[in-house]
Symmetry: C2
Subunit: 418 residues, 2 copies
């Protein structure tokens, strides 16, 4: 008799953003004349850069001609022209990569979720709280034990090894028993997820902070899975855009990145995963095991999509996408300036498209969500949806229209000044 | 300390087609003047249909304009326009599907490999031997126990429930012990993979044969994963193109299909998975669990790719792709006719792009591979690479150029007539 993977039954049925959509739709039905401004989901709104569209279409044309038609990609890990473009992009921040260390994918989310397949289920997973729900859910699906490092107001929502707590997390009763019995000993995580610039808090690790995480991972033979999806929003040059800018990281880290936020590819689907050749468990190269997994469960990214992605990294491509990023950065500044004027504490907004702020008047995240929706018709994301440390905090995104962002922040300023 | 999923270390390191490529390259180096004809890998060679390229490019153009730009797809399961096109395609063979039963993906391989994530690791997996290696490898990666049903000359390489053998398969020592102790009892598989038209053997189940499998699955509360990737090659109307043409299948089967072979999408990447609403374990709808899994580990298919895919199912699209399929079917006939003349036993070739034949002179699969490569410069696929029942058999594909297919078959005819 076929049996389910019962871990799925323990997951929350609804994704945070589906709950939000329900509340918004219900408000809309009751108030059909009200104009709602959406600053909740982290999705881009500006179109693809012209040079990207041209390359995309050129790729389509090639697929319509026998001589240039492309079938299966031999390796399924990305065409050399795109891997070379990515390697050149890394070279600009002094990170040298071999092409074999890069695998092109259909966006960071799939690799982020699937990478743990190659690790044993009895690894202990460390997440920072608040957290992007995919890191937690993809591990809960395999029944892995999770512990948290607390990101909070005290550490600027940038958790460090010293903030690890084993008291919380999704843990089996057996694990909890083990913890209780061995309370004097130290439970060490073996797989660590870090996201910088952070989703949802917008905080960015400095090189010194990341070095502490790298040192911690090496000392404990742990592997860091580093999500760099928002690296292109970093403006301050001293901040690291890749974990491989940190000495030692090639021995302990996997980096995931995506063109979703960098070049508006949320609906195009292209990203890349970097697994250094030096990353090994015993004699086994992690890159080889991941290649074996992908060889059976992935068949490469659409050729025209890879053509479009490669255009992003050309000189003109980088110039064109920079215009879009600047547009979003201005929105972030508008949000941040309003919060500063209102004397509301926040992180992010400078090197991140997210602004994460403390709900005024000691409101809970969902109370503030309702208040903002009904009084200002602005939709944001309640921080509590990202973990216990998000309670009492709120996220706004800078990916919207500039005029609407100005309008929303004026409404919020008026509302909170009352 | 980070630990590997050790199941990966038990997998064979090289994929069959990599071994073949090595042998071919080595021959080529020693014989640089010889012209090699490749009939090994099942990859298409004709370009995309014109109407598909146009729709693909129109989708790209929409992504370059703010008003028509598409970011994240809400559901990540495919746009309604494409799901409706797929539902209409099924309606032509009298299979009624609701749009919620269809999920668009980036090709059948990923879903085929990932679907088992939602089932417990202690399910017993049934594969037919010879088998498409992905079914076996994706289950070995999770350490699942596999048993086989034998496809062989006697049953026309179309294994039936009566051909199930528990003597062979990848099994833990604990499982083998259990089998030994309970030899009088019957071990029943709970997840069954079927592929029809079959890769690699080209055999096609009749409706009566599939009904036996469906009845067997229902009787044993098992789930069938049905790979219909080659359905568009079926010319004989009485043969089923979908398992859902069989009564009862909606209660026990998941179907995977792809545009790779139907419309030359091997480099474009688009397919679909059908999970009927009636498919449940207890009260739990399998479609809901799969949606939850994909919600965390997949972010939808590229919008322009979905536009291209929808164009395949238009009237003009179906006419244009039919021309390509006919071209390949002629190649299959050329191969089959030669084998008939040579009095060599084979399956496939009529309702399938694969022709599967017995190696002449009692040669082993790899002996015949070497013989064909060195004496006729034709590359095929040794049947032994697909499982023990493939030993002594050989696969040729019809996806090549027509003139080259004629040339190759003349060379083979001359060689074997000697």
């Amino acid at each position: 008799m076929a049996k389910l993977n019962e871990n799925f039954l323990t997951l929350e049925k609804n994704y945070l953003f589906i709950d939000i959509a329900k509340k918004v739709n219900s408000y809309k039905e009751k108030n059909p004349d009200k104009k709602i401004i959406r600053m909740g989901i982290g999705d881009v709104t500006l179109p693809l850069a012209p040079v990207v569209v041209d390359a995309f279409k050129k790729g389509c044309d090639e697929m319509g001609v026998k001589e240039t038609f492309k079938g299966y990609e031999d390796s399924g890990s990305g065409y050399e022209f795109l891997k070379q473009a990515i390697a050149n992009y890394y070279a600009k921040i002094d990170v040298k990569l071999e092409l074999g260390e890069i695998r092109v994918n259909d966006g960071a989310k799939a690799d982020c979720g699937n990478i743990v397949d190659i690790f044993s289920d009895d690894n202990i997973i460390l997440l920072t709280d608040p957290v992007y729900p995919v890191y937690a859910d993809s591990n809960k699906m395999a029944g892995r034990n999770i512990i948290y490092a607390n990101s909070n107001e005290e550490n600027g929502f940038a958790a460090m090894p010293s903030d690890i707590s084993i008291a919380d997390g999704e843990q089996s009763s057996k694990f909890k028993e083990f913890v209780a019995k061995n309370v004097a000993k130290i439970i060490k995580p073996s797989i660590i997820y870090l996201c910088s610039p952070n989703n949802p808090t917008g905080s960015v690790y400095t090189k010194e902070q990341l070095k502490l995480w790298v040192d911690y991972a090496i000392k404990n033979d742990a592997i860091i899975i580093f999500d760099a999806a928002y690296e292109s929003f970093i403006t301050e040059k001293h901040l690291p855009r890749s974990i491989f800018q940190i000495e030692g990281a090639k021995k302990c880290a996997i980096e995931m990145c995506s063109l979703s936020k960098t070049a508006g590819f949320t609906g195009v689907r292209c990203g890349y995963t970097v697994i250094p050749n030096d990353l090994k468990i015993g004699d086994v190269k992690i890159a080889d095991i991941w290649a074996r997994r992908q060889g059976s469960k992935f068949n490469g990214v659409s050729y025209p999509v890879q053509c479009a992605a490669a255009a992003v990294f050309t000189e003109i491509g980088l110039k064109q996408i920079h215009e879009n990023i600047s547009y979003y950065q201005q929105n972030a500044k508008i949000i941040a300036n309003t919060l500063t004027k209102l004397d509301i504490k926040f992180t992010g907004g400078i090197n991140s498209p997210y602004v994460w702020f403390k709900c005024p008047n000691n409101l809970s995240s969902w109370e503030f969500f309702d208040y903002l929706l009904t009084e200002a018709q602005v939709v944001g994301t309640p921080g509590a949806g990202f973990g216990k440390n998000g309670e009492g905090w709120f996220r706004l995104t800078a990916f919207g229209d500039k005029d609407l962002t100005i309008e929303a922040m004026e409404k919020i300023a008026n509302l909170l000044a009352k």
